[in-house]
Structures are given as structure tokens and as C-alpha cells.
Symmetry: C2
Subunit: 391 residues, 2 copies
Amino acid sequence: MRITAIYDSVESIASDIQNAYINFSQMTCSVVAVVTDQIVDGRPVVGFGFNSNGRYNASGILKDRLIPRLLEANPDDLIDSEGFLDPHLAWDVMMQNEKPGGHGERSVAVGVLDMALWDARAKMQNRPLYQLLAERAQRTPDDQVWVYAAGGYYYPGKDIVGLQDEFRQYLDLGYTVCKMKIGAASLGHDCDRIEAALQIVGEGNLCVDANGRFDRETALAYADAIQQYNLFWYEEAGDPLDFDIQAALTDAYALPTATGENLFSHQDARNLLRYGGMRSEVDYLQFDCALSYGLVEYYRTLDVLADYGWSPRRVVPHGGHQMSLHLAAGLGLGGNESYPGVFQPFGGFSDELTIEASYVGLPNSPGLGLENKANYRKMLKDAFGDRLALA
Amino acid sequence: MRITAIYDSVESIASDIQNAYINFSQMTCSVVAVVTDQIVDGRPVVGFGFNSNGRYNASGILKDRLIPRLLEANPDDLIDSEGFLDPHLAWDVMMQNEKPGGHGERSVAVGVLDMALWDARAKMQNRPLYQLLAERAQRTPDDQVWVYAAGGYYYPGKDIVGLQDEFRQYLDLGYTVCKMKIGAASLGHDCDRIEAALQIVGEGNLCVDANGRFDRETALAYADAIQQYNLFWYEEAGDPLDFDIQAALTDAYALPTATGENLFSHQDARNLLRYGGMRSEVDYLQFDCALSYGLVEYYRTLDVLADYGWSPRRVVPHGGHQMSLHLAAGLGLGGNESYPGVFQPFGGFSDELTIEASYVGLPNSPGLGLENKANYRKMLKDAFGDRLALA
């Protein structure tokens, strides 16, 4: 078994949304195809991967460093004792001659390839990835995963009506918990928006997300003002690396906070647990494997969590993609984000999966199973159809 | 005044050296030329920048994101009240629509352009950059900067002789303080190497560098073993983001430690000061602007240092390049690294500058003044000569 080719492509993941920090109009995403000579059902196994939204394509690092290292490696160095492609071994090859520290961008590039390698690996064993992960973890996989609808954007000129209409759509789709942006307006206006949203989703079902925009004083002022609303969680108040703000927040705010989508290594995750004052019975962690050196590194991050007394059930990954859905069901995470309708074709889950009472089932197809998603399949055909025979 | 073009190129910065973590045989570097329509001495001002050694080229991020943003910006948004190109304003433009956190690679790309922008800015005022920086800081610039020779590699089969020969060459070049690698051999063998090196450089003149390789136990075992040698500093014992190792080290080891070359933002630097147990009267900080979002971000880092009671004199940047030489003299840092002979043509200082008693003077040419370095000038000609009229 060997990798015969790796193709990469840059695709648009643009949307017209905007959070408190950035707009997404120029956002791009890397897509890779890892082609192997392992035959399953008469065809060579190909694994596909992509990166999550919010960070740009990683094309330069993929082409200059990671893809050449994988293709130049001795094929035997990528295969485990069962004779299959081993993403853990591939990880060590990709990270050859990389210095420690500086976890950003490179972590995205590794995450893209890691996803494709796990997709290929599970396809080689002709089963959905989550089943493979559960078996390796010696646990019974979850047969459904809790998901919440992320969105809750600003609608200039019709903020209240626009937000309520958006959340009504999410409830119609089967979600019960919804998340809205805060921090791009005054505290007073954000409170008006929160109250309007609560009218739709009901008490206990609303998350708010500041996208790391607040300084300490503002983070605490919001905490004080929103405590009355009994929110599901208060997300990423301050800069993701300012653990002192997070610690001050968990000190002042009794209800759940959530953060971690902008921490991209187990070392950064460990620093959050060491210094951020996070409460293992109350708060949520949102690390996204597709931005953070992939599942191989995610295992290390979960080990760090265990060292600090955290259950994987406190982890609800950022990103709203099907890779994290497999992790959640296979490894027993607490759930997964979902972005109904945006970041297409990379966001969301296989077309046959529907949401009921904020839970979603798992795909039956081998690997990640995203080929059952029509717009994803079309994107793959457009990107790689000239080089790969795609159904 | 406006930017008329930005060119970029990827150059080899390969060397046959190896530290405890990586080898440098495939190392590359980004070089950029920022072309303006500002005429000085009859020619349009062009600023040049490059990134430091140890991290790879940032071509993808430069081409996809940063260069287009600068070229598409309204030229007036890049000019300060004096009518000159303003690197601070350019920084905000480059970082548009970038999420917080994840400081690596992107920090290199911004650092490369920031260097070119400062080079251009100082050339527009027809003076060396360090003078401009000192004036802005309302201080008298230093007329010389302390430098030390970094190297001290492993020489398989002739470790002792090879190391002693290498350090003799550095002393002949005018250095008194030298730095050697540790951590790629046993503690016993490294102690033999340290004793051999001390025979050449003399007590008090030797630094050792573990390049982040050690776990806590090993870091402390080395600290215990080397305390007897009265070393100049003990550098980067553990993972750059494992601040607990650093704190344990400064607790156990009375002599100076040094770290920071793999922290790439003021937020990461602040975490080192908050959690790493660093002693402002004893230890050294080694942040490298060319890898860390450039001088604009370095000002923020220096502000963080001041907040935590640190003098800029405790800062001795990594990298051995002339940009940090200007920062050191202009802003009153403690010195600068030097890599005699390696990482060429990007390492080292203008050809007319010589080292005496481990001090080096400053270049007289406008900007960074690296065009006086023959191999750098030749590299620029090879990279950009088809698009730029270069002397």
C-alpha cells in the first residue's frame, strides 16, 4: 500500500456574513485528495480533506513542505502493522524539520491532510470513520450527536426582525439551541438583540459569541449584563491567548463560558486549562481538529484534558463539519457546531442526515462519507475530475 | 506617495547544520521588494525585506492575502501626517479580516513585509533605520551593539575538536561570547563538550541552547549538571509554549536563562512573562521581529515588557540579521544574535562592519543598508533584477 499522488486545490468558502472581528467575503479553503493504490470495491481508495472556516487556505505550506514530505517518504514508513495507511506515522513525516511553537497556518495545512488520511484509512476498512475511532477507543460509538445552530448575525437596519427570522428557520430545521454574534454593537443594543432572540429560542437555549473582541473591562461588563438571561454559553469574550481575561470571566460569571476555536495545538489547549480558570463541570472547549494539526494532535489534546480532569463530553468543536461529527460520535465528545446553509459545500453533514431536537445521526458510508453530500461531490468533481475518476 | 508594485521571491537559506530538533537542509526564506514612487537621489525608493532563519518562506500568505491587501488599499490609508509610508498603517491593512490567535507563519509573512516597509520608510528620509527609530523613541541611539556568535554544532566523530575549532574561529572574528547546541547527545557527552568549549571561550562566555527539546525532567537534570559552569545563559530548555517548564527552571537554576525565539506575538510574549517565572534582572528574551509580525508588533511587545517591569536591555533577538541590529541600537535592546558565516546572504551585517570585543557598529547607509553586503546585493539582483534597476 502506498500513496500514489496527492492533489490540492483552493476553493472559495466565502459568505456575506461578518462577526465582531472579520468579514468572510474573501475566505478560501484548501481541499486535498490523497490517492492510494489500495483497491476497495474495484477502485483505488482516495481520501479527501479540507480545512475549516475562518482561516484561509494553506496551499503554500501544503505544496512547499507537507505534500513533498509525504510523497518522498519511504511508503513503509506510512503503514502500520495492519498494513494500512497510518495517519499517526504520516503526521511525524509531515512535521519533519519543523520547529516547535508557532501553531497557526501550519496547523491548518496538517489538519487538511490529516482529514484526508483518516478518510482514506476508514475507506480502506470499508467503514464509517466514527466506527473505526470508537473501536480504537474501545467504546461503543454514540448513534447521534448533539448539534447547535451557529449564526445570529447582524442585519443592518433590521437587526431584531432579521435575527428572529434567522432563528425561526433554525428551529424549523430541527435545532433547539442557537448561537448569535455579539460585540459589534453597543452593550445596550446587544441586550435588545439577546432578548429578541430569547423570544424565539426560549430560555436556556441561546449562546452568544464575541469572537475574541473584548478587552477585560468589556468582557466583564457583558458578563454582568447578560447573567440575567441564563444563556447556554458565553463564547470567546477576549483574545484567545489572553488567559487572564478568561480567568477573570469564569470568576465573575457563574454560568457556562466556551472558548478554544483559536487555539491550534495541545500545548495551547493546555495553557488554556492551566491558566484560563476554566471549570471542568461548567465550561465548554471548542478546539477544531481541521485547524489544529488534525485528529492525531486532537488525541494529544484529549490526553491533556484527561490530565486536567476534563471529560471529552465538555468538548463541542468549532467549525460545523462532518469530520468533527465523526470525532464526536467515535470519541464521545459533547457535540458539534453546525452552520445551517453557510460555508458550503464544506459546512454541514451528509444530505441524508436530518436534525431532530438538536441531534443528528451518523452517516453510513465508508470514511467521512461526504461524497453523499451533493454540493461537496460536485466541488470534488470540479476540482479533481480531470485527474480522478469520480462517481 | 504610493506603492507601485510589490515583488516576492523564495530563496534558499539552507545550511548543513542541525540543532536538537531539526536540520536546515531544505530551509527557505521569502524576500520582498516594495516599490514606491517616492524619488530620492533621482530614483524611486524600494524597500527590501526577508524573513529570519528557522522558519520557512511565507510565499502563500504573501501572495494570497497580504500583498493584494496592500496593493488594493487606498494609497492615502498607508501614509502618515508627514506624507511618508507608515508601517503602522500598513500593518492594519495587512491584518484586515484575519482572526485573532494562531500566531505562526502569518507572523512571518507580515514580518517580511514590515521589514521592507521600514527599509523604504527610512530610505525616504535618507537615513539609517536605527537613527529614525531612536528619534521616534526620543533617545540617543547606541553607536554599537553587543553581539554573540551562535553555532557550536555537533561534529559526528570529532565533536570536541570540531567544536573547539569552530569557537576559535569566532574568537578570531572578534566575538567573546559564543553559543553551542546541547540536547542532541547524552547529558554526559554534552558536559564534555561544554568543558571543551569553556577551554576556548573562558568562564562566563558560553551560552548553551537546547532548542526546546527537553521535557521537564531533562530540563532540570541539565540545569543541575551545568550550574557548576557559570554559563552566560541556558536557552530554550523546553517547548516554547510550556511555560511551566520554564517556571520550574528559573526556580531551580540561579543563573540566567533565555527564551522567546519561538513566540511570535505580543500575546504569546505576555504569556511567557505572566506564567514562565522569568526574572527581569537575570533572564533574557529573544523575540525575533522578522518572524513575529515585524517591528510594528515588536513595539507592542516592548510595551508589554514595560508593563511587567522589564527593561528593553534584557532583549537579545534571535536570528542574526541586520533588522534586529537597527532595533537594538535604535530602541536600546541588549544586543543581537550573530551566525558567523551561515544563513547567507540573509544572516550577518553590512560588509564594512567588523566585530571587536563582541561589539559591532552600525551601518551608515539609508534604510537597513543591506545593499552594502555583496552577497545580499547579488541575491537581490538575481531575484528582482529583471523587474528593478538595481545598482
